[in-house]
Symmetry: C2
Subunit: 336 residues, 2 copies
Amino acid sequence: MEKRHGRQTVGFQGDVRICAYASVAGQKEKEGPLGECFDIVMPDAEWNEETWEKTESKMQKEVLKAALRKAELKSEDLHYILAGDLLNQCIGAGFGLREMEVPFLGIYGACSTMIEGLSLGAMLIDGGFAEYAAAVTSSHFCTAERQYRMPLEYGGQRTPTAQWTVTGAGAVILAKQGAGPKVTHITTGKIMDMGVKDANNMGGAMAPAAFDTLCAHFRDLGRGPADYDLILTGDLGVIGREILIEMMEKEGYDISKNYQDCGCMIYDREKVDVHAGGSGCGCVASVLCGRILEGLRQKEWKKVLVIGTGAMLSTTSSLQGESVPGIAHAAVLSAE
Amino acid sequence: MEKRHGRQTVGFQGDVRICAYASVAGQKEKEGPLGECFDIVMPDAEWNEETWEKTESKMQKEVLKAALRKAELKSEDLHYILAGDLLNQCIGAGFGLREMEVPFLGIYGACSTMIEGLSLGAMLIDGGFAEYAAAVTSSHFCTAERQYRMPLEYGGQRTPTAQWTVTGAGAVILAKQGAGPKVTHITTGKIMDMGVKDANNMGGAMAPAAFDTLCAHFRDLGRGPADYDLILTGDLGVIGREILIEMMEKEGYDISKNYQDCGCMIYDREKVDVHAGGSGCGCVASVLCGRILEGLRQKEWKKVLVIGTGAMLSTTSSLQGESVPGIAHAAVLSAE
């Protein structure tokens, strides 16, 4: 069992590479600081589809096709696709990827889905079960609002702690060898429930999960913040990010120097009114696949710890007075 | 890559065992032919909870606890839990398993979730990433009706092709070695969409997926129906079962002698009015964990091929006129 480190972390002995990656983003995301980084920018929220749900399915299909093109692979080269999204019964992935004809493993990790897929895919590669595997996810502002909150036409007020669901998607192709950033370790998170009941404060609900996974990661590997050029969370937003910095500080870790959050990076909050920042499966997916993996490829960073963060609620659980459990999965990405 | 067989199948070189398993079932399931097989029978649909969704969460928690007791393990011995269900955002698993404090990988394969979890868990064990991993799933008639169909109070008529969602749950504990039925191969299914649009004929929608996976399994391993004492699908029901037998016959395979479907086994259709039989994540889960694994342990069968079948629809996709894609994942279970 020498692949295991401590309770939650495994290290890969073989060479697990991200041989290609691609991103899709919407117009609002294009206007942000990372606007130039995305492979495909949608012309509008519909992208020639009749419903936003069909648009989100198209995002999953097109982002995977773009990643396959960059890898110079065909879908039949993939041994597995690991994919999911926020829509009820994960229809973004199910309908979007149905024509790929690839063995399909549906996953649901809320907004941690990208890193859950990357983690599972890396284990399937390193375990000798696949030569190539893809991890795909997406979110769409309009499908998320309609499903989780209010019809867009209602024009509801947003609370200051609310975040803005990113319209975006990302796909990575994992490979047994070759070029591209390397996945060296993963730390799989437990479900953490600190009793936060405000579904409009997801950052606050997810921060304890990110904290728990980050501490487990450092503990399992005997590492600290200085071992990474960049520590990145998925979508804690402005409020969750501050909470995580404080929680880590109390634990004796200063992450303030090299820590960022995709939800804080994707929008220019001076220009657009997104309150506490971006969120959604597509937030970490589009930032990872649009900006971070390219930065690793170009050796801008040598070692990045990315932590996908998810809130495991549904409208039914909130209506029934339940709290919002969080989950966070981490992966170490290396330029070497 | 000698673990791989053909396009969709992998074989395990190590010893992957199901060291324990447990099942939960409702009153209607207790009255069926397998009524004596389940570990826990719920006193009623509520099981002392305020809402049916909380009951379903309790089912996941209790079934995993029962399996851990039988394995003489604690939750901290588990390296991973793979779990999901039919509820929006998989809240049955998320809320039910939050107190386990085990690294959690959420999965969504509709009613194929049990076999998806078993497949992934077996790969994580054989890949050297875990010593013990659990796969858990559930369904509940009342949560499924309220979410997918009509409020129960409405008393809607059911079409003759409709199936009855099983109130049941199952958990398996996978182990790197030891006693218990062995998992020798898995065949992971592709999403199959033959254009069936009737959400009240799930068996018809899922049969082509079961057909595709079964043919892939036979092709990948050079096997045929005679290599198994029992071939078992998850929840095709009476109609889907007939379709699968016919489709296989046209392909040159006679499965009529040793093929059964959990949805046909779980209820006594002479006595209770379940139309085309049982369905839901809990159908294959409770039958597998209540009856089949015990039969393997007692050498009633030597080799069983179990195929979890799922329909990847949501109420939104149906309202938008989409068809019902199906998926099917297979696993070979051996008594030796």
